[in-house]
């Protein structure tokens, strides 16, 4: 036993010595970038190509070192901790679950306004910074965009006797009844995990009822109570067990082709084209079409309003060294170059707050997403993006309580309101 331990200990020590850290040239500027655009993410391949090219072009001067982060929740925990302890990474990606306003006000991030005013800002879509700048300064850069049109299975609608997608919510619920009668589920809802699908549906209904200014009075707008009623009604037409379902259940049902309508961001489009998800050689995309949010009778939405979000912000830590600051900005400008972004969008299906000419090879469904996005009369954020993080952490509890009749629609809105107040 002693010998075994001695042997193990020696092995352990030798391994520790051998596995030493890589050395960098002294005058090379290292940009440390914990990134979630890695691994199996659709943006990963092109991102890593861009970084390789950038590092090659600036060999000996700048090196971007990516820290691969695949588990988004763990990534959030890490970024939050590093920022709190004053160790913000040189560059990172944030989403709306972070308190973007507080971060922008904190002064811990690089002020990008001067660089944007020098012409770089022209690359970005109009008004991209409006909602996120503080005192006219932009430090957290809205970068990856997402829109949420509806994708539906044409064959299921046909089987239910529908040759077009409903234009109003009354029609929509009629369609739901018909789809259910034909033996299918109308749409996928989920209250498990982060209740993502139900959160998106709720956002769409809120948009249809409340219109473009629905967030102006916070949760006091009566649209939120009415929308809760509609959301609850939808649970009658989803698959069994939606209360405990997660995103993989919702996705699974749609690719198993037993569910008519699917709601998610543009990143999911690639799955529609995957050979894995084809049945008898017919790709899912071939039986799918894209529709806009139906109109709600008496609602303020005009049918062309669109639910969107900022899927990814780029944030760079404030630097003391001007050379390093310049290097970080150089990299940011490199990856937001319209030509590169166009290729990036093509390879990943993602959308960006950058003006670019879409490649003609873009998939049909992607094109329809872009078209809907271009035709939108106004956009609103999804509810998770519009309210503080406490809203999104409480949302699954509130939805499940609503659907299981633990609370009524007013109680649903109250619960979310209380959660927000508790965090303030």
């Amino acid at each position: 036993m002693k010998k075994t331990f001695a042997l193990l200990l020696t092995l352990v020590m030798v391994f520790g010595l051998v596995a030493s850290m890589p050395a960098y040239a002294d005058d090379e500027i290292i940009i440390n970038f914990p990134s979630i655009w890695v691994g199996t993410d659709s943006k990963a391949a092109y991102m890593s190509k861009m970084i390789e090219d950038f590092n090659a072009e600036n060999a000996g001067k700048i090196k971007v070192v990516v820290e691969e982060q695949t588990d988004y929740q763990a990534y959030r925990d890490k970024i939050r901790t590093t920022i709190t302890t004053g160790n913000a990474p040189d560059l990172c990606v944030l989403d709306t679950t972070f308190d973007i306003k507080a971060y922008a006000e904190s002064g811990k991030f690089m002020d990008l306004t001067p660089y944007l005013n020098e012409g770089w800002g022209e690359n970005f879509t109009d008004g991209a910074f409006d909602a996120w700048s503080v005192d006219g300064k932009v430090s957290i850069l809205p970068f990856e965009a997402a829109v949420f049109p509806l994708v539906y299975n044409v064959e299921i609608l046909k089987a239910a006797g529908w040759d077009h997608f409903p234009a109003t919510y009354d029609e929509f619920f009629q369609m739901c009844k018909d789809v259910k009668a034909a033996g299918f589920n109308a749409m996928g809802q989920m209250a498990g995990d982060n209740a993502w699908s139900s959160m998106l549906w709720y956002s769409l209904i809120v948009e249809a009822i409340g219109g473009k200014d629905v967030y102006a009075d916070g949760l006091d707008n009566p649209a939120f109570v009415e929308a809760a009623k509609v959301l609850k009604e939808m649970y009658n037409y989803t698959f069994d067990g939606a209360v405990s379902a997660t995103a993989s259940d919702v996705n699974g049902h749609f690719i198993a082709r037993d569910t008519a309508v699917y709601l998610n961001g543009p990143w999911w489009i690639a799955n529609l084209y995957k050979d894995d998800n084809a049945v008898d050689g017919v790709k899912l995309a071939d039986v799918c079409d894209v529709a806009t949010n139906p109109v709600y009778e008496g609602g303020k939405g005009d049918g062309k309003g669109l639910v969107t979000t900022v899927q990814g912000f780029l944030a760079a830590a404030k630097q003391d060294d001007p050379a390093k600051e310049a290097a970080v900005v150089k990299f940011l400008q490199y990856i937001s170059d319209p030509e590169r972004v166009s290729e990036w969008a093509l390879s990943s299906g993602a959308m960006f707050f950058i003006k670019y000419t879409p490649s003609p090879e873009t998939s049909l469904i992607s094109q329809k997403f872009t078209e809907i996005s271009n035709n939108a009369s106004y956009t609103i954020l999804h509810v998770n993006g519009a309210f503080p993080t406490a809203f999104s952490t409480e949302f699954p509890a509130a939805v499940s309580a609503l659907v299981l009749n633990q609370i009524d629609e007013e109680g649903f809105v109250d619960q979310l309101q209380t959660a927000i107040e508790l965090a303030e």
């Binding site: 679950t97 308190d99 507080a102 006000e105 067990g241 405990s244 993080t389 499940s400 299981l404 965090a423």
Partner: protein
């Protein structure tokens, strides 16, 4: 053992590393947590002192009180159902039935399987449409009982709790290790007296492990029950309607909201509840062992009279 003067130096040297670690990695961080629990702080703006308000908020929050209740139930079930089950299996396997080595290893497997895998498996078992449990119920003609086990208020928490109770491997191994150190002459004597396996377990094995590995396991299991997080987080995320929430999950969510004050306050509550729990278990065992001694003395006396 009495402490000799010559032992004082080595004693301090032996105790010091553990104490240093405890101070740096537990005492100081916990002081930090306690301090933050009296603040309003989002981790980025300047913190504001707010006295006991965070604790008051916890007291008023139904989701939190539910979490505390769930944890207490969990700790009780772990300590007084899971561990006794483990003890029964430890006693059975330490009698070395055919293939005992194989079973002892197999029972331990769930401890090494990643929590993500266990959670997805049990989600699949409890699932409403393709679930194994509903399938079984329908197959034996109890289809009316089929339901969305994790999506129903009444069944979600029991479902989360029950599946874990039968993963006894770790506690079983601890107790088996202890049982094997029992002097075999006790059993030999008992066999000569005509004691059955059952009687041997009751009168020899259990009393001899009670204040060592059994107490260790009950304390451990209760603490694990109080600290429960990963399984709930991955299985239900505390839903439906916060009915499966636990203190650590609640705390974790408050951290996501960058509500560090309330998150820290809930951590402090957990530590307090835990200390109360441990003290109660020890009191219970001290009391019990006294009783057991008296009982044994009484029985001996009776036998002698006969």
């Amino acid at each position: 053992m009495k402490l000799e003067r010559s032992d004082r130096g080595p004693l301090i040297a032996f105790l010091l590393p553990a104490i240093v670690v405890m101070v740096i990695f537990f005492i100081i961080p916990v002081i930090y947590v306690v301090v933050v629990s009296f603040l309003k702080w989002n981790g980025i703006s300047a913190p504001i002192a707010r006295g006991f308000k965070n604790y008051l908020l916890l007291y008023k929050d139904k989701a939190f009180t539910r979490s505390v209740i769930n944890n207490v139930i969990w700790a009780l079930v772990a300590g007084f159902i899971q561990v006794p089950l483990a003890m029964v299996m430890a006693i059975i396997l330490s009698r070395k039935p055919k293939g005992w080595k194989f079973f002892r290893t197999v029972y331990f497997f769930p401890q090494v399987i990643s929590g993500i895998a266990l959670a997805t498996l049990w989600r699949a078992i409890y699932s409403a449409d393709t679930g194994l449990l509903n399938g079984l119920l329908r197959a034996v003609g109890l289809g009316h009982l089929a339901r969305d086990w994790l999506g129903t208020i009444e069944t979600a928490f029991p479902a989360v709790l029950i599946y874990w109770v039968f993963y006894i491997g770790y506690y079983m191994v601890i107790m088996m290790a202890d049982i094997t150190t029992i002097d075999s002459s006790y059993y030999e004597a008992a066999v000569i007296d005509g004691a059955t396996d059952f009687q041997q377990a009751i009168y020899i094995t259990i009393p001899l492990i009670k204040n060592t590995s059994l107490l260790t396991c009950i304390t451990l299991a209760s603490v694990m029950g109080l600290r429960q997080f990963e399984q709930v987080y991955m299985l239900t995320n505390g839903q439906p309607a916060n009915t499966t929430s636990t203190i650590v999950l609640y705390m974790y969510k408050k951290m996501q909201d960058t509500n560090y004050g309330v998150a820290s306050a809930s951590a402090v509550v957990l530590i307090i509840v835990g200390v109360i729990f441990i003290v109660c278990i020890r009191k219970l065992f001290e009391g019990r062992s006294e009783q057991a001694k008296q009982l044994r003395a009484l029985k001996k006396a009776r036998r002698a009279v006969k």
